[in-house]
Symmetry: D2
């Protein structure tokens, strides 16, 4: 395929350095089930990165698997999760969380984020009525489904609220690399670890073949967690293939460089489009853009680039989701911007 | 590690041809979620192999994930599975099936297999008593947990019984490559497909990095199955990495050659040991051996080879499980046999 | 307690005829688990009432138990229910449905009802996206949570839509007695049976001590249903105590007379209050009223009558939910209306 | 029906004192959902009886419902229960526990009881292998499925073992009334409370219409338990009908008198039969007998008494389960014994 891809951040294969490291590891014998030397080393690198020794680090295959394994293990049967209305677990995981027995309470959120103000009234109502589920876990993602990112003040406020109200704060970091690279974000990986009870670092959407690193800080959530991995089918026999990729990502900062490319390219494209008068349905903060085009422009762009058709905005306009990735090049951005200039 | 490994069939990394094919595929863009060209091609190759066009072929990461996704999707809430007492789903999957809401009825089975005779009385009792779960699915594995294999007459009898009694027959083929290579087995992959409602072909234990191919023949079990994959966390974003490995396995018979090596090496080792007077707790039919040694012999062998300690047989003897794999060499077999000769 | 009760329709004990019939049955021996002569007779009476021989009739203890047993049995793991935003299963059953593994999709509904128009776009979107749950069952209640009722045209349109789209239509009839007595309703019990796949007839809120009668018409939902009762803990050893109450309710129309009293009293009270200029947040159609009072009026009424405080409407007004029941008397209505007249 | 009943202890209706008390309560209004004055009083009476103030007491409809609600609430997803091979939850509850996601490990138990010796090796094996479920709860019933009873030494030993190994001890007291009346038992209700983490007191099989009282002592199992009741459909709107029956049972010892009658009658019958040379498959210790008769004797007895056919012992003999209840009379015992004397 020679067309440039703006469809998502998982259609590209994997970063050459990760592939090379995986190849080098294909030799001899490795202990099974995630207890090999690569997983141990990757966990060590991640603990160094988040400046936190006392935590669990587990490696899983994908995001839905990580979310369902974590949340189902953290909650008691009578407890529920809370998520923004467009949260991935609410909308795009085929009800995987509910399949483990837990309701997710949905909160209106124009920017994809949760704040104490948005959940407070509902939390009180639910805690006070035993005919309702008991909210216990707050799910957020950074970046969000619309590409916005949390800053430190926002996540700190939410974290403090959760601790005051006995809520677990869990952060879905499928696109954490792109989020941390956002100019609007002043968060570090160590901040994320300090402010949440558990979170995961996405590999699949940031240059790996597969793999997410789940970090669990809260001790009461860590008990026998490897059995939870096993019973949800999330413990790979050859777990070293996950560990080795996170070694490659975290040995010398590749994770950040890949995330930075994704967000830099998106911001560059956003500037080019804005200069052409293009408007966006959501502010461009990380690696996703939601520009508004006349439908025929979108249609023609889809003939020239790999991209989703997007949603109709009105009779004449549609808004495709454009995603930049670790692999997006300045040339691709330039070609896309030029095509838009030509078409509008 | 320079010691030879007889511990299991997943401590080795992956066969060079599979690695090479995976490397070649790491280029450009691939459609996500298992709808890429590699998965389509791998499914085509498997359909050709089993001589059956009308079936679903899905690719999952591991065996427990495959078993729990399949069985939980096949059964209604009031239905149960039936398995031999040492069946993998009963003993070594951390109650993953029960976690999806279904009981597994256990049946004594000295050789690890199920027969109509072994389940008939219990089936009748359960079907006739509405205070008991309703058995609906028969789980078998080939090879079994003790390394024995089904022959065509046995599987045909069980299949006929299942059809007569409205039971689904599901076969766990984690070690199907080794099983089909067994001299005692006259089954082909096409026979397996013809005689079961669904089965899976194990890649992880037969030379792949990860991956199992689930074949579903019975149309009533196929409805919207990809949603079941998604909701159990079994749908990889970069699903092509599974497809490409099964392309390598099934394009020109690599799957069978790898299984044959595993079983051939085990039988060779078995002959060598038997010639030394060593006895076995289970007949050696595929790639696993359960020899009985004096404890100090086992201990010394563990200093020279990578292997499990095994179970105590009596005060003076223990029986380690030895596993040969696609990667086991004649030299390894010879060294092991020589060591035993020296020690006993 | 000598105060009149407008709090709900289950704080009163049970109708004297039902108590008397229950007493008369307390003699000798009865077959266990709902297979006694009373349950058989009650099922016969209900089949006569709904003019339908070919259906299952089961007796359960309460509404949440009935909803969770029915819905969890009807759906496959990948399927979801659809309900109006204030539906009882969504809001007031402590996530009992999700606890069985199924998501409930919520639909805005100012009047508490579902229509094809309200669900159509979402249905299409969900059916077309395999990363979303698959809607399979439409949940409605009659009367609704706000006391409105369906008419025949509305339920027929919804029923036709469900059949055209392969959806099960399930009706929660916790207050079906009051609903069928509503002047705005032209539905009969036989219509309900004809238009739905399954529904339940509420006893608890219509004069019984406990008990709901679940009617399942669709043959594909009836398979081994008694095992579903057992596994959800819904099969009473002394099931005859449920059967005998439904015998009393359906032998000569007591069910309808009790529902009629509830709705008649509510309508009478509604007229009295409307004549005093009182407004309502929802139209009064069956046995529940949501009048708006100044907060101090509500507070004073709560000193004179057993009733809930209700929700705040604005700084100065609140809206208590008033419920009339089989036991509400004209005197109670008169006293309440007089009190309001005095206070406003 | 004029035949005497030895079929079970729930075919009789309810004790007249319980019925009378229930009738007297059918007046006025009662607070819903188990928060009424009767439930509060019944809980107070039970706390007095078990000499323990600091515990939860909940009232549920039936035994399976109680077991599934309790066990599913007590366990985390990765944890399993342990039960004797013929335990009610293992065999006769339609896999209700597994339906909530938990495996039950089965232990051979000729007398229906568990001891530390019987579970110790398996416990160690499971705790040490993360591919196995993690045993956390020991389920016992008193009396057991074969009618045997625990004595204080036995239950104390098991209790101590559970505490030493971090296991919850849960006792199913469906027939606790009969068990405590057994001459071989030196346990009191207070002992049961002192030695277990939770247990339930059976009403249904001891003279009530319906109802079991679940006592939870361990504070970590009590958090928000009423939400667990609600989400499993176990919270009756008119919960007072359960409370009032337990008031009747525990106000002045009716519970014990009814249990004593059941066991006294069984022991009397056992003596009469033993004197005739009848043998039993299990020792008669409480209200159940398993005598062995020639098949034609069993058949003829079934023509004269309401009773189960029982199991075949050999070609010529069968062993019916005979159950005496609160309602069994000396006349019934005499008639049965006389019939046996006549027939053998």
């Amino acid at each position: 395929m020679s067309m440039h891809c703006f469809k998502d951040d998982y259609s590209e294969t994997a970063h050459p350095d990760i592939i090379a490291e995986l190849m080098r590891s294909c030799d001899g014998h490795h202990t099974g089930y995630g207890e090999d030397e690569y997983c141990l080393e990757a966990a060590r690198l991640i603990r160094r990165e988040i400046k936190l020794e006392d935590c669990d680090v587990h490696f899983l295959s994908g995001g839905t698997q990580t979310n369902l394994t974590a949340i189902s293990s953290f909650l008691r049967p009578f407890q529920a999760a809370m998520a923004p209305a467009h949260g991935h677990i609410l909308v795009h995981e085929a009800a995987a969380i509910e399949a483990t027995g837990h309701k997710i309470l949905s909160f209106p959120s124009p920017d994809g984020k949760l704040t104490p103000e948005r959940i407070d009234a509902s939390l009180r109502q639910h805690l006070g009525d035993e005919h309702m589920p008991y909210p216990k876990l707050v799910y957020v993602s950074d970046s969000t489904e619309t590409g916005t990112v949390y800053n430190k003040a926002e996540l700190t406020a939410l974290s403090r609220y959760c601790r005051e109200h006995g809520l677990y704060l869990y952060l879905d970091g499928a696109r954490l690399g792109a989020a941390l690279a956002a100019p609007k974000s002043d968060l570090t990986m160590a901040d994320i670890a300090a402010l949440t009870d558990a979170f995961y670092i996405g590999g699949t959407k940031n240059g790996a073949m597969l793999g997410e690193a789940l970090v669990i800080k809260n001790p009461e959530l860590r008990t026998e967690f490897r059995r939870n991995l096993k019973l949800r089918g999330a413990m790979l026999a050859k777990g070293w293939i996950l560990g080795v990729q996170f070694c490659a990502l975290f040995r010398d900062g590749l994770f950040y460089r890949l995330g930075k490319n994704a967000t830099d390219m998106a911001l560059a494209l956003s500037e080019r489009l804005a200069a052409l008068g293009v408007e966006f349905t959501s502010p461009v903060e990380s690696n996703m853009l939601f520009p508004v085009f006349r439908c025929e422009v979108t249609d023609e762009l889809r003939r020239r680039f790999i991209m989703h058709p997007g949603k109709r905005v009105d009779e004449e306009h549609s808004s495709p989701r454009l995603v930049c990735s670790w692999a997006t090049t300045p040339e691709a951005v330039d070609e896309f911007a030029s095509a838009v200039r030509e078409l509008i």
